[in-house]
Amino acid sequence: MIARVASLALLGCLLIALAGGSLANAPSTGALHGLRVEPPKSVPAQALIDESGRPRRFPVAQRQWQLAAFGYTNCPDVCPMTLHKTAMLLAELGANADRLQVWFVSIDTPRDDPAQVKSFVSKFDSRIKGLTGDAAVVQALANDFNIMTRRFQGKTALAYTLEHSSFLYLIDPDGLIRIMYPATADAQGIAADLRQLWLLSAAKE
């Protein structure tokens, strides 16, 4: 346990060092808590289905900033912790939380129908919205976000686990990916980044 905590602390320091280094040429902003995607990345929008069963294209430009997590509802560890973190982030943002839309995109299309996704995300915060869709479409989206998915089959057809990347992706109102957050980034750090980015956006307008 001590080794694990030490390793996490080391990784945290590393992340801060990386983020700080990445901003060496951006004096107008302080140190970010994630990895800046430069130039901001455009990803083709895919036709998904939201948690209410309605068609929804993602990612698209919209009024709010967006934070996307990929996972699945049977995920035993990282997905619940990630959604818990996003719920804490929304709480941390307080009155400004409506400036951010959190998306949970299920990569487990055989098991995760819209109702299942809705039931899962609503346990963390009702403002988090779930997305699912056709397997090929979701895989195309995962490829565009550079997300690794690997299936480990259990004893029955539906008994399997998925190994997957667990980054959070911050998307700006133009629909461009701006920052990637590893699993070690915390809610306070992401909130600080958002406040900083919102200040910069306001200054530009």
Partner: protein
């Protein structure tokens, strides 16, 4: 009464687990970017050179070994070459930079004296390949390039050149680069896309 006893036992058993859960952010330190499974290092390969200089190569292998070849002259390997196993922290740093470099597009419009070709291969994901120019500007690819070179104890030969070009292929011989830049459409049109 028996149910109440069972409930109390379960509560007592569950309490330390819940406290432990909140104390750590991830289940396994290696879960910096994966849910479960074995840690996977990306294979990263970089070829780089100045316009008139030899083709230098530095690469990270799947098992976490950094390898480099810095020739004195193309076709010879007299200047420096070597390999070393990287530490866990060094590998994590390179892996994180490779993740973001894989997602980001290569920069356009930079000017500089060193061109590089970068390839990233994470297991189970599309292979990423890009061509870029070293500059002071922050880009994930530039950060990855710098981070790789920082881990190499030797210094590559990158002579300043009398004549240069914005884009050239660092994997070719200097004479070929010269010939190709005289026909720029043939030389550089193919590698401006990332995937």
């Amino acid at each position: 009464m028996r149910w109440i006893g069972a409930w109390i036992c379960l509560s007592v058993l569950a309490a330390p687990a819940a406290a432990d859960m909140s104390a750590r952010q991830v289940i396994d330190p290696w879960d910096y970017n994966y849910c479960g499974g074995e840690p996977v290092y990306p294979v990263i390969g970089i070829n780089f050179s100045t316009f008139c200089g030899p083709r230098n190569q530095v690469a990270l292998g799947r098992r976490g070994t950094l390898m480099w070849i810095f020739p004195a002259v193309d076709g010879e390997r007299a200047h420096a070459q070597g390999r070393r196993k990287l530490s866990e922290v060094e590998l994590k740093r390179l892996s994180l930079l490779a993740e973001v470099a894989q997602l980001a597009d290569p920069p356009y419009g930079d000017a500089g004296g060193v061109n590089y070709r970068l390839g990233i291969d994470f297991q189970g994901r599309p292979y990423k390949r890009m061509h870029a120019i070293v500059s002071e500007r922050y880009t994930p690819a530039n950060e990855l390039f710098r981070a790789m070179l920082e881990l190499v104890p030797d210094t590559p030969l990158m002579p300043a050149c009398e004549r240069t070009a914005t884009y050239y292929d660092p994997t070719t011989l200097p004479a070929d680069r010269q010939a190709l830049t005289e026909q720029p459409r043939l030389g550089f049109a193919y590698d401006r896309k990332s995937r």
